[in-house]
Amino acid sequence: MTLRTRSGLFLAALAVVAAILAGMLSRGVPLQTNVLAMLPATERDPVAEKVVASLSAAIGSRVLILFSHADEARTKAAAERFAAAASGAGGLRGLLVRLPEPDPKLLHKLYAASRFGLLSEPDRETLASGRFSTRDSVLQQIVSPVGGMFGLPLAQDPFGFFGRWMASIVPSAGAMRLEDGYLISREAGRTRVLVLGEVDGDVYDNAVQARAVAAYERGAQAALAAEPGTEILRTGTVFFAASARAAAMHDMDRIALGSIIGITLVMFAAFRSLRPIVLGLLSAGAGILAATLALLLVDGELHLVTLAFGASLIGEAIDYAILFCAAHLAAGNRWTPQMGVAQVRPALTVAVATSLLAYALLGLLPFPGVSQVARFALVGLAVAYLSVQWLLPGLLTQPTRRDPARATGWAARLLERWRAALSGRRAVVAGAIALAVCVPGWMALQSNDDVRLLVPRQPELAAQDAAIRGTTGFDAGSRFFLVRGTSEEDVLLKEMNLTKRLRELESAGVLSGHQAVSDFVPPRAAQEASRALLQKHVFADRGALTRTLTEVGFRPEAVKALPGEFDRASRPVTVADWLASPLSTPYRYLWAPAGDAVPASVVTLIGERDAARINLAAAGLDGVTLVDKATSVSVLLGKYRAWAAPGLAAAAAMMLVVLVLRYGARAALAVLVPVLLAEALSLAAFGYAGVPVTLFGVVGWTLGLGIGVNYSIFLREGIDRPGATAMAVLLSACTTLLGFGLLAFSGVPALHHFGLALATTIAGSLLFAPLSLNR
């Protein structure tokens, strides 16, 4: 097979890959923006994991939009205009400006047959204490100016038990109140109206996100056009996810563009020809294309972070092509492609072997996201390596017309001078001083495992979110209690043990509220106990009851009906009744969150103010666990970060084995020393700059180890002329810095730390690389 046919075949294969990829992408980029999907399972309990997923879908699809204007009618009009313009074309659905008028019959239908088993906590206590007096109680209802105004007629609920129970289950809406169906608040001369809605589809689907955001913008524009001066605030997972996605795409565009422009300029300056750039991008492009296709085929989707990382993989993949082109320049008119391949193969093989080793180690981390990044790099680098041997030779057959000695002379002189500066006693002293200066930096290192490193919250959206939470009290956090039992009744009983403690925390001001099914449907045992209390303290002596009620002035026929109702209405309300009623619609996700086969429920928390005390609420309660995905993730990040230090040492040790096999022990150490020094300085720099050590920084150092050692290997292996080798190393480092290093400017903290760690390591490795030439 000739060089040209092999190149042709490689190009043809590449074209096929590109075509398949284009076909796949034409149906939309399957880009995963859900951070949770990047992480491994954190909960030991698979049920908890499942519940986290179903809850985040249920709660994540909500959107809240708050309108505010000095004029009440205009506020309402703006909200109506918004809903009219935002609905219809998809994106958002169920936009409710005015809640439908609740049907009072619904409450009656659900609870009437069970009402004597439903008592509020204070009433249960009063009855159980034996202090209850029928006469005083009924008189209090009658003389209270609002007694019996809202619930059943007084004759049916003369002591107000049922009315108080009903009042106890109506949730608070913070400062908002329901008025003509509007959720409204009036403060500081402004009227605020809240509009509730849902995302139409999976919140983490890009197309759905785009449609939802477009619908919001359409609505907001229409509202502002109709009612200028309206302030519109929004919150909801979809807005955060969409903005994170837009920021990542923006980062990627910027970094990719910066990489390509920077690399092109640097390469043109060195080679005075566009051909090496084209070859370099072709080689890197082959790697990226193949890696993207391979991962899409295997995983079905690409993670956001992988994509941003992939854009910067250009930086390393191009190194191999650079070395090949440097060999071409060095050979002058003696050039044959076969000779070029033979010259670069040893250096490239050692470099690829060490890099792949470092990436493979990353791939072992059980983070789906990190492992995808590592696999992307493995495939990309392997294909780039093969392209240098199979694709580039056929495309670079003509020798250069430049004089090799003059073209690479500057690099040879630079290397010589720098090598001289780094050798001898002076260098040892300088190194020792540098390491000594590092020590305080190392001491100042701090770690950070906060999950928010992964999810940058756009400040403006976060401020709007805080404002809406402040006004509405809808500040549901991400923590919840999972209650599991052997049956429906068991779950409700266990839930009640928990809600009792939560109510104490609510009275103490630690918590604003909670949502639990057992508040709407008390366990059967509790309903029977309540009924027994009423039987004992109210309905036992029916003669006395009738006398008391008649004495205070009730009509005899109304008085007579009551005991009969008590006897008839004796059926406990069940979860099935509740689920069948439209009243349960907003809360249905609380019940059987892991499917009907698993008896379980969820208790959500509103307005947590003291996490530590709430953590203790489940202590000692059977079947109740606090699920806190964010903390679990942070703990996990910390675990892997702690794990990474020995991991880094292991990677270095494995590289040392490869190097010792090739160069012998002493020289292998000399090859490894530059990158180790670079990492030591990089760590110290993090300490001095106050940048926290995160798992993502550690990933950067791991990759830096793999790439940084390449420069020493290239110098050590050499190609035809020392100047050409030096030029190749310099260009490699520049392109890597322009590729990965630009990630240091990313707005995503995770990428920022990664880029910073890598850039400093690469810069250091380049500076110390000549040390590897010391015998």
């Binding site: 009658i142 108080r164 009509r555």
Partner: protein, 200 residues
């Protein structure tokens, strides 16, 4: 000439009525604390005769409305922005707004806006029409929002310098007539009253 004058008067009347309402509410809201004796007659639809109760009422701009019933049963009701706090005859207290349920919060606000003559919340909740003069007036309140209109038909307030009568007609047929007298103005609520406003 006379016709012109009359039509001018008719034209001016709504403005005048609105001004009157503003004047009444402003005057009612002047003292930081007002105390009065009250007598209430409440007729419940399933009862044969009205129930008369007596007690004291304290209206505080800052804290809310405190309703202390002394006969025929002892009961203190503190209506605040956050709900209703009941203190029973045996001193046992329970906050009906414990979970800050929307119903109790509404009741607390409702009573505070009616009895406390809180202009902003009154106008937000009711359509208010004033008649008479600043010296002898009546204000008719009809609920604006359908949620309130389900329970409350009309509230009529009457008074002169102070609020002297409150008449509440409920949709259920219950009606309440409250007369206030022996008004006294104070700078702030007494310590024992303040205790009744506090959450238990």
């Amino acid at each position: 000439m006379r016709l012109a004058f009359l039509s001018l008067l008719a034209f001016a009347l709504p403005v005048h009525a609105d001004e009157l309402l503003g004047g009444i509410l402003k005057r009612l809201a002047e003292p930081p604390v007002i105390r009065a004796q009250f007598e209430q007659e409440r007729l419940i639809s399933d009862m044969t005769r009205p129930t008369v109760s007596r007690g004291r009422i304290t209206v505080s701009r800052q804290d809310g409305v405190l309703w202390q019933i002394e006969s025929p049963v002892k009961l203190a009701l503190a209506f605040t922005q956050n709900g209703v706090i009941e203190t029973g005859l045996d001193g046992v207290r329970r906050s009906r707004g414990q979970r800050r349920g929307a119903v109790d919060t509404e009741v607390g606000r409702l009573m505070q806006s009616i009895v406390g003559a809180n202009e902003a919340s009154l106008k937000a909740t009711f359509d208010a029409v004033a008649e008479g003069s600043l010296e002898r007036w009546t204000v008719r309140l009809t609920p604006r929002a359908r949620e309130m209109a389900r329970f409350l038909k009309v509230v009529r307030l009457g008074g002169s310098r102070y609020l002297e009568s409150i008449e509440i007609e409920e949709i259920s047929g219950n009606s309440t007539m409250i007369r206030l007298r022996q008004h006294a103005v104070a700078e702030k609520v007494a310590a024992e009253e303040l205790a009744l406003f506090k959450q238990p």
